[in-house]
Amino acid sequence: MKPLHGITVVDFSQFLSGPSASLRLADLGARVIKVEHPEHGDIGRNLYMSSVRINEESSFFYAINRNKESFAANLKDENDLAKVLKLIDQVDVVMHNFRPGVAKRLGISYETIKQRKPSIIYGRISGYGIEGPWAGKPGQDLLVQSISGLTWLSGNEGNGPVPMGLAIADIFTGAHLAQGILAALVRRGINGEGALIEVNMMESIIDLQFEAITTYLQDGGKPVKRTAHNNAHAYLGAPYGIYQTSNGYLALAMGQIPVLGELLDCPDLLKYREKGSWFTQRDEIKAILAKHLTRQATESWLEILEPADIWCADVLDWDRLLAHEGFKVLNMIQSVTMSNDLSYQTTRCPITLNDEQLISRRGAPILGEHNAALDEEFGL
């Protein structure tokens, strides 16, 4: 039995931040019912459009919403709203990522729901919190990245801002919401109380940068400076980075520079005896390394460095990764099937419980697929 067996979640959220939280709850055994607008559904079905489609909709939607049910309801319609409230009366968790004020207008605010059901755990996500000049801004991943300072950490000095190429703010905000909801379920198991859990994308992406921001604050606000080339972390010295070789790339995490000089037969590195210089002179050290490492193939460097316990790795793209035994043994890909028999491949939950992988065979729902069944089951 999965750990959240018996927990039911009503999820009004759209796009990625909220739905990624409910996906994790579903992975862990909760039953997740997406409430979607009857015409267009979760806007992630069509607006957040990847270049690949599944079932004529965005493939992203199908990754994010596997193993969920769909209940189509127009919250502006009185009958539909009454049904949704009746459904909420019978569940454990409610969550949404409407902009501030919208849930209240729709009649599903925390205050309303709590009054009906005091033990409810109510999660809400916003872009920037519910007060201040940003409160009304769209909580969109790239925009949050751009405002948060995050774009000055990746890429090289002189590159300008470099966003992280994934919806990282959405994903961490969702992860934080899931943590808060789970912790609230722990407390409810002890004292029966419900809870309000709030997260916002800006706070989550600030939390993600807690190391860099604490350093920045402690350091008297000196500007963050990436390395001139091969940057992998603005606050770490050489050799930390990815380097070109004669046939690919090599990642180097840690290693004493003179030791690397010996191992790689690169005499120019031997003069950096002073540990402090690995940070203060990292640009020139990295330049020497970058030039030197192009002389041989990745495999031959690994053959030298790995036995010497230098932390290094080949740099793989997905084609090579998926063909590798180290990947295959994880059994990370699962095939899921929709009610219309369409199957697609996606990843599984990364958490293993009691040595069992959390697998679920059910694909994403068709919009409104479960209305009739839910009407009957919950007496709506």
């Binding site: 000049p133 751009s146 350093t215 604050l217 293993t352």
Partner: protein
């Protein structure tokens, strides 16, 4: 009552992934006790960035380990180990990130811990799982980013593979560990039984890419290409990306191109009008857009685009961010204090509970700072010293 009040976590984990999970549980009200080797303590105390120390410990260590206690014990010493076992008997959760086999050798593997305390929730973090050719490799953030394909998503088309410039895989693995542990605690509330929760950096790095991997797995297309300039997402078409303006940078998220160019008061070339072109001719279109954005200041663009409802934002650095009223109103910073009174400014937990922000005043402990108190409180002291 705080959400995790009454829950005690023993943290054998070191560095970032495991301790970041401990930090979130501490923020949510759990009591987190680091079990550290006497003297030097956990390895993370010496992981230093920019040579910044607070006392004998790195600033980074203080960031990750605020609001925790420390119990020093030499796990190779029998008496110390006995005391630790007594601690485990009274704890709710324990976490570690030793390489596969180490806890078995010490006798603190899940089977032993479970015998000692059937209610224990046992969390373990590895680099690459416990099987296969990578199982014994060092689980380090940059290396896992490199192996996982992640480095082909950030930066531009002709750049080297570009890692995300922070320990993002460690952080994500920590959130997964916390999620698994909390779910197991929910279940324990019903069944009374503990559980083992396993996560690895590589699986978390793959989960991180779940959307784009799903796109890749279900098409005949080769792995994704980053855009030539201003790339922000390999699978999203124009205009999604970052553009230089006359005096700074502007980020533009998803919006149909004809709408965008309307608001920019410019004519969209015929060749770019079809939706399919927005992805297929992405580089060309983004280059064309960049030429336009360069001609005016960020403020001018924001004025015309934001008011029209276009999803856009200016790109800020830390100084600009922290001076902004939108940041200050969040009260995202807090001051923590070490036992000897040193104050450190850091961030707070991003999860608000019952309408309240979560603050905690306590910085990271010194190695063994809480031994005496814990021994008295948890009745470990009857063992000979």
């Amino acid at each position: 009552m705080k959400l995790l009040e009454g829950i005690t976590v023993l943290e054998f984990s070191q560095f970032m992934a495991g301790p970041s999970a401990g930090l979130k549980m501490a923020d949510l009200g759990a009591r987190v006790i680091k079990i550290e080797r006497p003297g030097s303590g956990e390895g993370g105390r010496q992981i230093v960035i920019k040579n910044l120390f607070v006392g004998n410990d790195s600033l980074v260590f203080h960031t990750i380990n605020r609001n925790k206690e420390s119990y020093a014990a030499n796990l190779k010493n029998e008496e110390d180990l006995d005391r630790v076992k007594k601690l485990i008997a009274q704890a709710d959760v324990m976490t570690h990130n030793f390489r596969p086999g180490v806890m078995e050798k010490i006798g603190l593997d899940y089977a032993s811990a479970q015998k000692n305390n059937p209610r224990i929730v046992y969390g373990e973090v590895s680099g690459y799982g416990s099987q296969g050719p990578w199982a014994s490799k060092p689980g380090q953030d940059l290396l896992v980013q490199s192996v996982s394909g992640l480095t082909y998503l950030t930066g531009n088309k002709n750049d080297l593979p570009t890692p995300m410039g922070m320990a993002v895989v460690d952080m994500l693995t920590g959130t997964h560990l916390a999620q698994g542990i909390l779910a197991a605690l929910v279940q324990r509330g019903k069944t009374g039984e503990g559980a083992k929760v396993s996560v690895s950096l590589l699986e978390s790095a793959l989960d991180f890419q779940f959307e784009v991997l799903t796109a890749y797995l279900n098409s005949e297309q080769p792995p994704p290409q980053r855009a030539e300039t201003g790339n922000a997402h390999a699978y999203l078409g124009a205009p999604y990306g970052v553009y230089p303006t006359q005096d700074g940078h502007l980020a533009i998220a998803m919006i149909p191109l004809p709408k965008l160019t309307d608001f920019m008061q410019t004519e969209l070339p015929e060749a770019y009008k079809e939706t399919d072109a927005w992805f297929e001719k992405r580089d060309e279109i983004m280059g064309w857009l960049a030429n336009h954005f360069r001609q005016k200041t960020t403020r001018v663009w924001l004025h015309s685009l934001e008011s029209a409802g276009v999803w856009c934002a200016e790109v800020l650095n830390y100084a600009e961010l922290m001076n902004h009223a939108g940041y200050r109103v969040l009260q995202m910073e807090q001051v923590v204090e070490t036992a000897d009174g040193t104050k450190i400014q850091t961030t707070r937990c991003p999860i608000r509970v019952d309408g309240k922000r979560v603050f905690s005043r306590k910085s990271a402990p010194k190695v063994g700072e809480d031994n005496l108190r814990i021994e008295a409180e948890l009745d470990l002291s009857d063992l000979p010293r």
